[in-house]
Amino acid sequence: MASLARFFIGPWDFILSLVRDPNARFWFYLALSTAGYVLFIVAMLVATAVHSTPGDLLSALQSREIQHSIYLSLLTCSLTALLSLLAAVPIGYLLARCRFFGKALVESILDIPIVLPPMVIGLCLLILFQTGLGGFVDSVIPFTYTVFGVVLAQFVIGVAFAIRTMRGTFDQLSQRPEDVAMTLGCSRGGAMWRVTLPAAGKGMVAAASVAWARSLGEFGPVLVFAGATRMKTEVLPTTVWLELSVGNLEGAIAVSLLMVLFAMVVLVAMRLVGERW
């Protein structure tokens, strides 16, 4: 990056260094790629933002349907983040600490929700709940086309990302302190609870935030498994789709901007919490 700093000293010097110095060219190409991609993202957001007016945003916020959709999105995403963390901590710990027969297969299965098209996940969920066992579960706790279904559809994908994050976190934390805690009288579970989990705080915050952010944008599985009933199972991505389908572009843009805002606020807040941990 030192070569980029030269640009501020003199543009000619900088151009000359690009011609002469292969290292300068290397850094320049990297900086160019990064700047191009960052500008692309910013351009998308700015274009969307300037297409809308504060009035559009305000009138969208005054709609009862959209207010309900905001409420349901915040509720389901928070529940999903919590559930994802509860599942990701033990699974991530097991994968990081244990070697067992079929581990590669288990890891591949856990990654399936990440690589499958989201719509297919929704369809698989729908079919699962048509089977005998699924039907029984559905008769006890109704998932299909309900708010529970929204959470489950978000959870399937959110938890896969949370597991990856937690596994990485536990991989980074040495097992030695846990071993010492065991010689001091802890069980393996006690050592994990007292020594490793407090040290995994940042990772847990990251896992919860990635699950939250993924859930906020989840559309396909929610649409297929939980439906798009207004005032019932409508979450923010569903709102965008419903507004677009009736030709209300302003409403769709306003809700999209709201989602961008929520995602950014949560990511910044989580990062601040994570840094203080």
């Binding site: 010492v180 065991m182 010689t183 009288g185």
Partner: protein, 214 residues
């Protein structure tokens, strides 16, 4: 006394077969051997962190082969100390007593006595981040000693220290061993450390441990 009787252990392509050795009560034993010969594995088997496939582990006259690590009356100081990353120095030292549900006053009293003894009383409120290598080893030593073990297992406690700190640490280890009346097994590949510290040297090579008096 620490005794291994025909201990075997195997994982992937590394194995120990029929390992025997004994360290007498109150001795300071130094276990030496080339890198990768299984010294740390032997220490972990004694601790109970690895389960031998055959043989017996005796500590202070009792067969502890089937015991949990915390029930073996052993203090363990691994390489680099392996301190608990989120606790203060005082919390680390009092950890074993807290797990054993000792009264808070007893814990505080033990922590401050050990901290004085190890010269780390001024660090009690500090977290581990930023401690020097020598300070980390002293904290790890205090944490192991707090539960008043009969046996102390030290895995290369000096090798990571600066040269000018090594002699001080060795003097401390020798003093601690006498004052706490513990049997020590100290793993190293430094013959200089063995010359300075050992009552008894155990040399491990090709899965066999040979003992000689220092």
């Amino acid at each position: 006394m620490i005794e291994l009787q025909n201990v075997s252990w195997r994982v992937d392509d590394f194995s120990l077969t029929g390992v025997n050795c004994a360290v007498q009560d109150g001795d300071y034993a130094v276990l030496m051997g080339p890198t990768g010969c299984g010294k740390t594995t032997v220490v972990e088997i004694i601790c109970g962190l690895r389960k031998p496939s055959a043989g017996r582990v005796m500590v202070a006259g009792a067969d502890v082969t089937g015991c949990l690590p915390g029930d073996r009356n052993i203090g363990y100081v691994p390489q680099d100390g392996a301190l608990f990353p989120t606790m203060t120095v005082g919390e680390q030292i009092g950890f074993g007593l807290q797990v054993r549900r000792r009264a808070k006053d007893d814990i505080n009293e033990s922590v401050s006595r050990l901290a004085q003894e190890l010269g780390i009383a001024h660090l009690l409120e500090r977290r581990v981040h930023g401690l020097s290598g020598g300070e980390r080893q002293r904290v790890a030593l205090g944490r192991a000693l707090a539960v008043e073990p009969r046996v102390l297992l030290l895995d290369e406690p000096i090798s990571a220290l600066d040269e000018d700190m090594r002699e001080g640490m060795m003097a401390l280890l020798k003093r601690i061993q006498k004052e706490h009346a513990v049997t020590v097994l100290h793993v190293t590949h430094s013959s200089w450390e063995a010359d300075q510290l050992a009552d008894c040297v155990l040399r491990m090579e090709n899965g066999v441990i040979e003992a000689r008096k220092a």
